[in-house]
Subunit: 496 residues, 2 copies
């Protein structure tokens, strides 16, 4: 806290100077940033883990961090082929080892050829290794049924977050009523609110429809836009599909309607598609914005500006720690694209190991390759388990009175709605906490289960939720869901 | 370019809409960003490489990219031990291989134990793996003769650049005459000017004294500060030691004077010390700001705010592509430190492979370890060669008429001053180029040598320089230096 006037003279008397950088003098935009996924609840979880290690008695033996989509932290094994290729690239002496399959060696040699000094230790060009940008373009073309993708429109990044922030940075301008507004879904992944706060842009909320499995409704987009036009200049529309934290997968007609809306209202589209491999529900299918936009033909295909984001952190590989990702831009002004490239060059390059993993993800073993069978098997196990966990989560939560959970059609989270009794809400207010934060903190203290309150993602006033990842292994997930439901029942009794 | 009124009606007639994001509507701060190290000269170098590959005839057979401090791109081999440990961490099956030394396996196991799910693929905590923060703290204590370092004041980052920008972000506030000013050396590493432009802070230039081997003079700091106080609020002072692009190593007395100045004038100190292992000149020695500050005792030791930056990209290891680094903060307001941690958490975590390499760099093999001898030998070869190259560079340039080069006491660049004949200056102006950009472009086109014009780093008006890394292997460096000197002579004749 900054010093008051009285303290200040105290400071002067002691020969102490007030610090240059204090809460009062620091960047006010940074102060406004909030990021619930790693917020106070996670700091408390870390403390509890430490207390457990120190032998402090708790009503649980283990903290389960279901707050974040971090597959490998939950025990998921890395995909063998990805790590073999990366190990070969890191330590090329291994290229002589008989313990690595031929196709892994070929991949590694191909990548090393494309690196400065044939080493991962050299900087790459700022937009990423050209060869890997080409791999990404071929992947997008396969994904989108042959629609062309130009490697020059692809920029590798330090995870998807980095690329998302870079595009937002380009969009921010103006002051007062001309300040850039950006439409984001509510509930949202809080990278968006955090980045907009830091960049001093206006966050324009549009609500997903919980009653219709978190569907996106263009009428609600229009409402949000009209309301925002009074006090800012809305210039971009962010979509998360499949949804985080909501798990919905958008229907093709919905995507078409969003594109028409963006075109008419002159909004730059940002499509966060990092969960494109994570679709589980029967009848749900991933449609990329790029594909739909292109198939809609002119003027959309030729004019609508779009940036689409992907990463190596989610999908079946879950290689979060490597911070690999990319953005593909469509119909972007070439002069602006140059500016984006310049901005990226200041940070020199995305981490090269993350680039290498991305290359594997977008060009996995082909059926004729020796690693194909194992790769496919490992991939399928992960995706099949995720589908089963998505179903189980929805089912167990919906059996609990006072909890209602939409189907987890995709991504890797459930975002159930919880009823909280009025006395709990009142108690939370006394403590200066959001009611669902109070619930989640109580849950953590009593059960060791760490989930993130819905208030960190945004929700309709008077409703309460939490986000929980479905990633824990099956044998842990069921007891976890049951424990959580039981705790909610107990909490409800306690405050009724 | 944005459309003029006439073009606009044309657009309307064709049913074309103007783009949402254009040079006119984009973030004006981003437009102002410049980053010479990867600027137009490097883009041209890339083009020339492509032309060479396509068989286009040039007066040279190879482009030599001496524009950037990228050791491994220049052929430097990675340090074996670092890559062994990293390969073991990436692909833990190798822990059973007889081909890896025991100490490398021990290190890898220790790191994997500290990773979520025992995998590099999990996110780490946002400030970096705790164990590695502790390793860094022990390293700093050894470096600084036992002065304590607290792991809680250490934050791992995506290269040093990331940490530098994060600290600058905290410092930026105010508008008009209260806008934050940041003092940076001229010549500087252009990350600083680029970040300040992007953050809309005021760049306050202080000039290093070329006549005294680029020494830092407190009188000049004072001049710059006084002048700046009229139109902004100077709140931070950046120091690069050893210097980039200038290669000077600051004397201890100079550092003391800078600290006294910062304390009196209430400036937050930012010490860019990424070249701390790169000191070559006899009589030169690296003194960390943290050590000097602490040894000066109170009030400096107890009150002066400092952030010190280091990375795995430079030194003897040169692992630029992995984007590893850290910042240590000293006397920072704990509440601000929390804000910094929050800001870092939005980007989730620094790339874990870079964290692993950093751990190796700060806790290398001990004399009793099986890998010690080889590690030391490899390290020594790199550092001895760098010292020889630093000397050679200075010597060859100073033999050339019209080129004057200060001693390269440390870091990995020379920043020689070149005389350019008035007719060359005039020709450059006709072409709309800075005179040293014209010189460097001509050099590139004629010889394939890529160096960066001094105007990209800042220099006194009417003087011209270029930055060239000393990293090329010895057998290439001498002909390179000679070719460059000869080109300068020819260029001078041509425009005289």
């Amino acid at each position: 806290m900054a010093l008051r006037a009285g303290d200040r003279s105290q400071v002067a008397m002691n020969g102490l100077k007030e610090k240059v950088l204090t809460l009062d003098t620091m960047n006010p935009c940074v102060r406004r940033v909030e990021y619930a996924v790693r917020g106070p609840i996670v700091l408390r979880a870390l403390e509890l883990e430490q207390e457990l290690r120190q032998g402090v008695k708790k009503p649980f033996t283990e903290v389960i961090r279901a707050n974040i989509g971090d597959a490998q932290a939950m025990g998921q094994k890395p995909i063998t082929f990805l790590r073999q290729v990366l190990a070969l690239c890191v330590h090329p002496d291994l290229l002589n080892s008989p313990d690595f399959p031929e196709d892994a060696k070929r991949k590694a040699e191909r990548i090393l050829q494309a690196c400065g000094g044939h080493s991962l230790g050299a900087y790459s060009v700022s937009s990423g290794i050209q060869l890997i940008r080409e791999d990404v373009a071929r992947y997008i073309e396969r994904r989108d049924g042959g629609i062309p993708s130009d490697p020059n429109n692809i920029y590798l990044s330090t995870g998807a977050s980095d690329a998302i922030v870079t595009v937002l940075k380009l969009l921010v301008a103006g002051e007062g009523p001309t300040r850039t507004g950006v439409l984001i879904p509510i509930p949202q992944y809080p990278l968006y609110s955090a980045a907009l706060a830091e960049l001093n842009a206006v966050q324009v909320d549009y609500y997903l429809d919980e009653e219709r499995a978190w569907a996106l409704d263009v009428a609600e987009l229009r409402r949000a836009l009209c309301q925002a036009r009074g006090h800012c200049c809305p210039r971009a529309l962010c979509i998360i599909n499949p949804g985080n934290p909501t798990g919905q997968v958008q229907a093709r007609e919905c995507i078409e309607a969003v594109i028409r809306f963006a075109f008419e209202e002159r909004l730059f589209l940002m499509a966060d598609e990092v969960y494109q491999d994570n679709v589980y529900a029967e009848g749900s299918q991933f449609h990329s914005f790029k594909k739909v936009l292109t198939e809609m033909g002119p003027p959309y295909a030729t004019q609508q500006e779009l940036a689409s984001f992907h990463s190596v952190s989610k999908g079946y590989m879950g290689e979060c720690g490597f911070r690999g990702g990319y953005v593909e831009v469509v119909n972007m002004d070439p002069a602006v694209q140059q500016q984006m490239q310049k901005l990226m060059s200041v940070r020199l390059c995305p981490p090269v190991p993350g680039q290498v993993l991305l290359s594997m993800v977008v060009s996995p073993p082909a059926p004729s390759d020796p690693s194909f069978a194992q790769f496919q098997a490992e991939r399928q196990v992960v995706l099949a388990e995720l589908a089963a966990k998505a179903k189980l989560t929805e089912q167990v939560f919906n059996e609990a009175p006072g909890i209602r959970c939409n189907p987890v059609q995709g991504a890797m989270y459930s975002f159930p709605r919880v009823q909280l009794p009025p006395r709990a809400v009142q108690r939370a207010q006394e403590l200066g906490l959001a009611p669902d934060m109070f619930f989640c903190m109580s849950l953590l203290e009593e059960t060791g289960i760490c989930v993130v309150p819905g208030s960190g993602f945004g929700q309709r006033e008077g409703t309460y939720h939490f986000r929980m990842t479905i990633l824990p292994p099956m044998e842990k997930l069921r007891p976890l869901l049951e424990k959580l439901s039981q705790f909610h029942a107990k909490f409800t009794r306690e405050y009724s």
